[in-house]
Structure formats: C-alpha cells, structure tokens
C-alpha cells in the first residue's frame, strides 16, 4: 500500500549517491515533492538530474540512499503507471510502432480501457498522427507522445525529464498549462530542466543541483536573491558545516564568500548561536533568479581551462 498521509511527500529522495568509477554523479542528494505542487529540478547539463530520475524510477540503483514514490521504491510498485507517470527520454519510444499502437499497448499494460489511447492522443494533440509510425515523428511530437504515455494510467504523480525539449513556443505554453492544471488538481509534478526560464513560469518550488549536489531548494519567493545573504567567516569550514547541519543551501563565490539562502538577520542569529566569527554579512545584490541560478551552478575555475594570455587571432578579412 502507498502511504495515505496527505502531508507525506509523494516523491522523496533521501541521501542519494551514485558513483560511476571515480566520478560522483549524484552526491548525497535529498529533497521531496508534495501533492499539489510543481517542483522544478534544475541544474546544468551533466549535473546529475537524469541520473537522479533514473534512480527514482528504478532504472538505476543508488550506491547510497533511497528514492521513494509514495513511501515505496519504484521497483516495488505493482502498477507504477497507475501511480506515477514518467517521461524520461522520448527517443526510447519504439520507432516501428504507430502512436496509436504505442498508447494501446501502454493501456493494455496498465489495465486501462483501450479507448483511452485515442483520448490521450487528442489530449496531446496527436490525433492526426495516430497511425503514423513514431520513427517519422519530430522530436516535439515524440515528447507529446511520451507525455501521453505518462498520463495513460491517470497517475497522481508526474516525473518529466526536460519535457519542453523540442516543443515550439505554443507547445511549451500548452505543456505549462497542462502541468499547472495537473498540480492544481492535487497532483505532484517533478520536472527537470537545465533552463530556469523554461520552468520559472510553471513551478512552485525549485531544487537546484550542481555537480550532483543540492545547492539550493525552496519556493521561488524563497530563492529570490532578496532572501539571500552574502557572507564570509573567519573559519569558512565551520560556517559551511553549520549551514549543512541546519539544511540551509549555500553556494561558494569566486571571491571566497558564500551566498546563503537565508535573510541576513537570520544568518546573523545562526552565527551567534554557532559561535562563528563572521567577516562579511550583506544582503546579496538583487541580480534576479536566473543570475543566481548561473552563480549557483557555474563550474569552478580550472587552471587547465582558463583562457590563454595571448588573445586568439582575429579572423582574416576578406579582400
């Protein structure tokens, strides 16, 4: 049985870690998604979003930690498609089947009426392409079909990996409306993206990761830079350890300071309580959410990738 507590998270990632040899793709990641919300799972390419979603959906096993759907691991769900609709990669839809055959097969698998296949095609605007093979679909059409597959079992949870990829502006607006309506009806949505702009208009909460680690989590309002503080400490390690202990997101800055997701007054109180000597404490400049996202997720400067001191030659002018 799935948990019936309405306040319980529909999706829960707890201490998830995944290593591929020496590379840590996901590093002690924890967050949760609750019913009635759209959670944006944000990070640059290679941040570990897809790996996390694959672990959440049982396609990969975590080295440490658990990923739960309604309190249970995905692989233990008897009919997962009736609980959680998933679209990770629309290119994995079989190219040799028609859109209609794909959805009818999904309906049979999930024990849904076959007529729902036509319904879903209409919902995602693919009725005209019902008898066209998926191999002939554009990427955007496959994304729509993937969403139809995810919605087939009438699930209460949706997990979508970069769903707006390949969609035209009208398609993106349609997707936003659909996800918003789904959440407003009590559903839980977790959608990943590497572009803040893509999800900013849809999500209630953001989970931002970089290099496999959680760097910031909260509602859009909480994450706005006016709620952030730029801070320095005499012993930076003591400050970061205290922030970690209290589950407060922080991100290092190139100047040695930290951007912390807490108003200055609260951070000051925390420093007093933890007996940490601060060397700087200012409200972070209001640079907008997107700028903050770039700051949070930017790669650290690497001497091997720094620009050469000699400027590159200018291209030759045509005579």
């Amino acid at each position: 049985m799935l948990t019936t507590d309405p306040s319980a998270p529909a999706l829960e990632i707890r201490g998830l870690t995944k290593r591929f040899g020496a590379h840590t793709a996901v590093d002690d990641l924890s967050f949760a998604s609750h019913p009635g919300t759209v959670t944006g799972f944000l990070g640059p390419n290679g941040a570990g979003k897809s790996t996390t979603l694959r672990m959440l959906t049982g396609l990969a096993r975590p080295d440490v930690g658990v990923a739960l759907v309604g309190g249970r691991p995905y692989r233990e769900l008897e009919h997962p498609g009736r609980i959680i609709g998933v679209m990770l990669d629309a290119t994995t839809l079989h190219r040799g089947r028609t859109g209609l055959a794909t959805l009818r097969l999904t309906a049979r698998t999930l024990g849904m009426p076959l007529a729902r296949a036509e319904e879903m095609l209409e919902t995602v605007g693919l009725t005209a392409a019902a008898r066209t093979r998926v191999g002939a679909y554009s990427y955007g059409m496959r994304q729509r079909l993937g969403l139809a597959v995810a919605l087939m079992g009438d699930p209460a949870i949706l997990v979508l990996d970069e769903p707006a990829n390949g969609l035209d502006p009208e398609g993106i607006r349609w997707m936003r409306r659909l996800l918003r309506d789904f959440a407003d009806a009590g559903g839980t949505v977790l959608l990943s993206s590497h572009q803040l702009r893509e999800v900013e208009a849809t999500v209630d909460r953001l989970v931002v990761i970089s290099r496999g680690r959680l760097v910031r989590e909260g509602t859009l309002a909480e994450l706005r830079p006016d709620h952030a503080t730029r801070v320095g400490a005499e012993i930076p390690a003591a400050l970061t350890a205290a922030l970690d202990r209290h589950g407060i997101a922080w991100a290092p800055r190139p100047d040695g300071l930290l951007d912390v997701g807490l108003p200055p007054i609260d951070l000051g109180r925390l420093a007093v309580r933890e007996r940490i000597v601060l060397t700087a404490l200012t409200a972070a400049e209001s640079e907008g959410l997107e700028e903050l996202f770039f700051q949070l997720t930017e790669e650290p400067a690497d001497s091997s990738t720094t620009a050469p001191s000699t400027p590159a030659p200018a291209p030759a002018l045509a005579s």
Partner: protein, 244 residues
C-alpha cells in the same frame, strides 16, 4: 508474467511484422518446392514427409535466431527497454515473459511449418506422384524439433548475454555455421582430439543425440557451454544492468 503483452509489443512493430511475413513466405515457398520437386525428381515418384519437413524447416534455422534476438536484445539496442521497465519494473517477470513469448512464437512457427510440409507432401504426392510416404516421420519430427529448440534456446542465451542486436545476431547465426564447418574439417583431418573439441560445442549434434536419449557427458557439454552458462550470465546482467 505477461507474455501476451510481449508478443503484442513485438508484433505491433513494423520490423517484426516484415520479418514474420518474410519468414512465412519463405516457409511456404520451401514447402511448395519440397512437395512438387520430390515426386518429379525421385525415381519412385513419391513424396517423403520427413524430407519435406527437413526442407520446409530450413528457413527456421535463420528466422528463429532473428526473432529471438530482436525480441530479447532489440529493446536494449533501440533503448525501448526503458519504456518497458518504467511500466513493468519487475525485471524477473519481464525477462521470463519475454522468453516465454519467444518460445511460443517459435512453437507456432514450427507448427505452421509442420502443417505446410504435410499439406505440400500430400498434395505433391497425390497429384504429381505415387502418393505421400510417412515412414520414419516420427524420428524426423523428433530430430527437427530438438534441433530447432536448440537453435532457439542458443539464440535466447546469446541475446540475453550480449543485449545487442547486431552482436547477438552475428553470434547466434555464425556460431552454428562455424561449428559445423569445424566439424567437417576435423572429420576430414581425422584428428580425434579436434573432433572431441568440436563435439563439445556442437549443440545441433548434441540436441539430436539427446532427443534419442543419448545423454552422455559429451552431449551435455554443448548444452552447458552454449546455453546454460551464457543464459545464466545473461540473466544476471539483465537483472543488474542500468538502463539509460
């Protein structure tokens, strides 16, 4: 387990339908050739059902590996296994279901082959010759069943192990040819040691011997090396592999 779903999934794809249609067409052609050619070419004008079955079943030695590999390794090559496992995360059940679906399809194809061989032999023998001959058919049926079953389970084991359509096809179709050729060469050279080595991997010969109850260790060795071992490793990989 839902082998019906896996059969539907396989048969709803264009490529699988083309393979199946081509297989049936070639089997029908082989049956016609067997039924018509025998009364015309054999001195007594008869049509032997055993020979018809042998000729008609020849296309299956290629078709069964192709079907087994596309059903079991294909979803890994085209990555559609992701969709399957998202909807049916119990890997053990999906694997068992897929293997059952392959065996069911192979059994149906063999039954169709048998029926066509019998029909063509009866028609050819009655209309063009002195009538059909069914002496020794039981033995022929037993040998053909055993050899085609061996072909199928070997292909299943290879597909599970390699999980790549191209590699599995090369191995499933190539190994029997290589072993058969090596057997011929070993026999021609008269080297006992070489003959023994080839026999240790000659699954077709072993299947034929096992069908007649000759279960000596040398007959069980090919089964172990070419079916049990790769299948066990393949199942382990199937259960553990991380799907992208």
């Amino acid at each position: 387990m839902r082998p019906d779903l896996d059969l539907r999934a396989h048969l709803s794809a264009l490529g699988a339908r083309l393979v199946l249609a081509a297989t049936l067409a070639v089997i029908v052609l082989a049956a016609v050739v067997a039924g018509v050619a025998q009364p015309l070419l054999l001195s007594d004008g008869s049509a032997d059902l055993s020979l018809s079955l042998y000729i008609t079943a020849l296309p299956l030695t290629v078709a069964l590996p192709v079907i087994a590999v596309t059903m079991l390794a294909g979803p890994f090559s085209d990555r559609s296994v992701q969709q399957t496992l998202l909807q049916r995360p119990d890997r053990r059940a999906v694997l068992g279901s897929n293997v059952l679906a392959v065996l069911a399809l192979a059994a149906v194809l063999f039954a169709v082959t048998l029926g066509l061989a019998a029909l063509a032999t009866w028609l050819g023998g009655t209309l063009l010759g002195t009538g059909p001959v069914i002496d020794g058919f039981g033995r022929a049926l037993l040998v053909q069943s055993a050899m085609l079953l061996a072909t199928t389970v070997f292909s299943v084991a290879v597909a599970l192990l390699l999980r790549s359509t191209v590699l599995a096809l090369v191995v499933a179709l190539g190994v029997p040819v290589v072993v058969s050729a090596a057997g011929g060469i070993a026999a021609a050279l008269g080297r006992d040691a070489l003959v023994t080595v080839v026999r240790a991997v000659d699954l077709q010969a072993a299947a034929s011997s096992l069908a007649f109850g000759e279960a000596s260790p040398i007959h069980l060795l090919p089964l172990l090396l070419l079916v049990v071992l790769p299948a066990a490793l393949g199942v382990r990989g199937w259960m553990r592999t991380e799907v992208a």
